[in-house]
Amino acid sequence: MRVLVQAAPFDFGAEAQAFADGAAGAGAIVTFTGLVRDLSGALTAMEIEHYPGMTERAIAAIAEEARQRWHLIDALAIHRHGRLRPAEPIMMVATAAVHRAEAFAAAEFLMDYLKSRAPFWKKEVTAQGADWVAARDADEAALGRW
């Protein structure tokens, strides 16, 4: 399992390939990449703050739970912090399992938990100012299905 919390950009194609190359015995690789959304068309940047130390611990715990529950061969989580531009990749997860059902379920579980249990906070910056993104009830409710 690999957990990376970094300011630097990442190449999700290269990361996916490297992950697949290292997942001996896998019959299914699922990857998800999240990009900076700009629904209003006015976003100049997304600033992501995190809690160094707790972030890595929280993600590692989430990934370890996913590995055990779905018998994953491997899992990868990358999450950026700092100032990002619209359409830049923020984060990715990858899961490797023998069959696709486990790989898909584990990837969704990782995403749901990363959103609400890993200590990151997003701030949207526009020409008018900056606002912290509010947590959505739906994101908290999504944890209930696991």
């Binding site: 809690y51 611990r57 984060m91 990151f120 906070w121 912290w132």
Partner: protein
């Protein structure tokens, strides 16, 4: 002595990212009461506990959790990663 860490708008309202305080509080809730009484900016940051989360030594906790043996308390809004 205990380290207090603040993130996102909690950090902005209080005006600093971390500080070290001496406290006799037995629980997180008692610590919050002490902080609220200090200055207006703390009272504002801790006005609504339902919009806050707390971590003790980097693990999420409840506001009624005991502080005995805890070295680091972090206050922050609900997380918005992903």
């Amino acid at each position: 002595m205990i380290d207090l860490l603040y993130f996102a708008w909690v950090r902005e309202r209080i005006g600093l990212p971390r500080e070290r305080v001496e406290t006799g509080a037995a629980t997180v809730a008692e610590l919050v009461e002490e902080l609220r009484a200090r200055e207006e900016r703390y009272a504002l940051a801790f006005a609504d506990l339902s919009s806050l989360r707390v971590a003790l030594d980097q693990e999420l906790a409840e506001f009624d959790a005991p502080l005995a043996g805890v070295r680091e308390v972090a206050f922050f809004p609900p997380m918005t990663g992903g």
